[in-house]
């Protein structure tokens, strides 16, 4: 047995290993698997629970508080009353268990920008190609066949075609074997609660399985409190991790807290762009250049709910199969998503009888979004207590971009045949005619009046060749702490403009390969 849960632990834990990996999402699982398969003794620490495929529930009342940090509601505040709700996984496999499985390679121009800006020599598309290939093969990245498209995907395509807007098929990490068709034709709403058919090739059922099969050990319900270091000449060197065994909410509870200590020759942090800098601050390991926690990018996005005359039953079919990228160069991309009834109701701009009237037309609803490439960054700041202090402002330029995105998305909906739109604006809940689209900008809503969400946090421990600009070097090792590596979206030098999962996994592959060259 190499998996421990909080229920099995009754006294202080003391462990030793070669590499301690904090987090089991896209970055941690890949790093740990590669290191374990190379023969290193790897120990994972995961704050959330391990929920296996056969235990995923269609009942979001159970799965959301279990699998998501803060039930998926982490508010990120900024000036002028702006608020972005951030959701991330807190379970074995991390957000890869809960996302739609969209797999994009980092766009060429983004990589070239990172290369030039941060002096990352091998960061061109060619340099990273072997790592992308390796990941794509392991998690089975492929285009979603049209046969599995949901009805609203076809409506999106028709609407875009009428407007002359460009669309691109989406690739996902899906295993299409005999029998899988029944899954993809039925479960659009379940992706966000864990794929119950193992069609989505999340880190839980790929890299974590590889790692555990190679002998890695896993502690669940283990919250890392700090990275342990020791002096090394005029620097420091990582020597382990300590923390607490926690309950389902990530808290130590009222019982006497149970501590754990892991002694390791190297430590890999992979808690994501919010938790990793928070852990560095708690450990007293911010860099002299003040860059830890800075450069937070979020890809803020917002959604419109459209009502169509025809029943769509948008939960039937793959959650995403197509995106509209006509305005990608302007930092604006349109996508489809669909939500189970409870989460859909959560996002409605009304409650009571008017909300019920909308929900009775659930079969006629489509739920499309617009994702914005942010031009301005926020920060994760030092904080006392268990939760990080996150600041992120929506600048006037980004607000303009968001409102333009909402207008265009509304236009797309009407072009696709929608007859009523529910908007993410506090003072304009709905419009029913294409002519009303101009009301959106005409209203000139402040940022505090726009409902914004994100599942993409990036860039708080920037990778750079420059000690003055980065938290980690091009090998993803902390500039001031030997043998402390970071392998998650926090190392991104900027926003990827696309879903970041594949980039995280490719960089984790590269970092783990580099780490194997080191001798301990």
């Amino acid at each position: 047995m190499n998996i421990w849960t909080p229920e099995q632990i009754h006294s202080e834990v003391r462990e030793q290993c070669d590499v301690c990996v904090v987090g089991t999402g896209a970055g941690g699982a890949v790093s740990g698997a590669i290191l374990a398969q190379a023969g290193l003794d790897v120990l994972f620490l995961e704050e959330g629970p391990m929920v296996k495929t056969e235990a995923f529930s269609s009942d979001a009342r159970r799965s959301i508080p279990t699998l998501y940090r803060h039930s998926g509601i982490t508010p990120i505040a900024g000036r002028r009353g702006s608020r972005v709700i951030f959701s991330e996984g807190r379970c074995v496999g991390g957000s890869t268990v809960l996302n739609a499985g969209i797999c994009y390679r980092t766009p060429r121009h983004v990589l070239e920008q990172w290369q030039t800006q941060e002096g990352l020599k091998d960061f061109g598309p060619e340099g990273l190609d072997p790592y992308f290939q390796q990941v794509e093969q392991r998690i089975s990245v492929q285009e979603v066949p049209r046969a599995f498209w949901s009805r609203d995907t076809f409506l999106l395509e028709e609407g875009a075609k009428r407007l002359g807007w460009h669309t691109t098929p989406i690739k996902r990490n899906i295993r299409l074997e005999e029998g899988a068709a029944s899954c993809l034709s039925q479960c659009s709403t379940l992706c966000t609660q864990g794929c119950p058919t193992a069609t989505k090739q999340s880190a839980l059922i790929t890299y974590m399985e590889d790692a555990l099969a190679a002998g890695a050990r896993l502690y669940t319900g283990a919250r890392a409190e700090s990275v342990l270091t020791e002096p090394l000449k005029n620097r420091r060197q990582a020597r382990g991790v300590q923390g607490w065994i926690v309950d389902r909410n990530g808290k130590t509870g009222k019982r006497a807290p149970i501590p754990f200590h892991v002694q390791a020759k190297a430590v890999v942090l992979a808690g994501g762009a919010i938790q990793t800098p928070h852990l560095l601050f708690r450990s007293g390991l911010s860099t002299r250049n003040g860059q830890v926690g800075q450069n937070l990018y979020l890809h803020p996005n917002t959604k419109i709910i459209g009502l169509f005359d025809e029943p769509i039953e948008a939960w039937r079919g793959s959650i995403q199969g197509l995106q509209v990228d006509q305005f990608a160069d302007e930092g604006c991309t349109f996508f489809i998503t669909f939500l189970p009834p409870g989460i859909m109701a959560f996002g409605l701009p009304m409650h009571g009888e008017p909300a019920y009237e909308v929900m009775q037309q659930y079969r006629h609803l489509a739920h499309w979004g617009v994702l914005i490439e942010d031009t301005h960054s926020g920060a994760v700041l030092p904080a006392r207590g268990p939760d990080p202090n996150i600041r992120y402002d929506i600048t006037p330029a980004d607000r303009e971009r968001i409102l333009t995105g909402i207008e265009r998305l509304a236009t797309l909906f009407f072009s696709a045949g929608a007859r009523r739109l529910l908007l993410p604006l506090k003072r304009l809940h709905e419009i029913r005619q294409p002519e009303e689209v101009r009301k959106i900008k005409g209203l000139d809503p402040p940022v505090s009046d726009i409902d914004l969400f994100t599942v993409h946090a990036m860039g708080t421990c920037r990778m750079s060749a420059s000690v003055a600009r980065g938290v980690v070097n091009p090998s993803q090792e902390h500039f001031e702490v030997d043998r402390l590596f970071i392998s998650d979206a926090s190392v991104f030098p900027g926003p990827t403009r696309v879903n970041p999962m594949l980039t995280i996994m490719a960089l984790a592959t590269r970092a783990a390969t580099n780490l194997l060259q080191r001798t301990f």
């Binding site: 929920v51 056969e54 235990a55 995923f56 529930s57 269609s58 009942d59 979001a60 009342r61 159970r62 799965s63 959301i64 508080p65 279990t66 803060h70 039930s71 509601i73 982490t74 508010p75 009353g81 608020r83 029944s182 899954c183 039925q186 479960c187 709403t189 379940l190 119950p196 058919t197 389902r248 909410n249 808290k251 509870g253 009222k254 029943p311 039953e313 939960w315 189970p340 009834p341 409870g342 989460i343 859909m344 109701a345 959560f346 996002g347 409605l348 409650h351 009571g352 009888e353 909300a355 929900m359 009775q360 659930y362 079969r363 207590g385 268990p386 939760d387 506090k426 003072r427 505090s448």
Partner: protein
């Protein structure tokens, strides 16, 4: 003085539609909303608890009977919330939206409601009730 359970119970009368299943679903709705509330970030959780108390006390000054929100009848509660919404005060609107969001989530996610809205998933995909029940513990302790 309001507590989260009493407050959410009172708020349910404002947020949920009047349908025959409502009473049967009420207890589960409340329990699920409390679980969601308990899992929120500690700072937000504290702010919400304070806001619930203030909202409840604010009812005393409201003309519908001049009593706390949790002791008003349903009609009075609905009028009170509608009045607050008309004031268009951002933080209050956010508070009402989050509270109603938690309850609406818990209510509409109840499979007993799904036939009414036409939602159905193939039975062979659903693996019901397999996330253990201790995750539905209604306690809201955040420490």
């Amino acid at each position: 003085m309001s507590n989260p359970e009493k407050f959410l119970q009172a708020f349910m009368g404002v947020v949920l539609p009047k349908i025959p299943e409502q009473e049967a679903m009420a207890q589960q709705t409340l329990a699920s909303a409390l679980v969601m509330l308990g899992a929120l970030p500690v700072r937000l959780h504290r702010v919400l608890r304070a806001a619930m108390t203030l909202f409840d006390l604010g009812g005393i000054g409201y003309r519908c009977g001049g009593r706390p929100f949790t002791r008003m009848n349903v009609d009075q509660r609905q009028r009170y919330v509608a009045w607050i919404q008309r004031l268009q005060i951002g933080p209050l609107l956010d508070f009402i939206k989050l509270m109603s969001g938690l309850l609406m989530f818990a209510f509409y996610q109840d499979p007993r409601l799904w036939p009414r809205i036409g939602y159905a998933i193939d039975a062979d995909i659903i693996k019901q009730g397999v996330v253990r029940d201790e995750h539905l513990d209604p306690r809201t302790d955040s420490q």
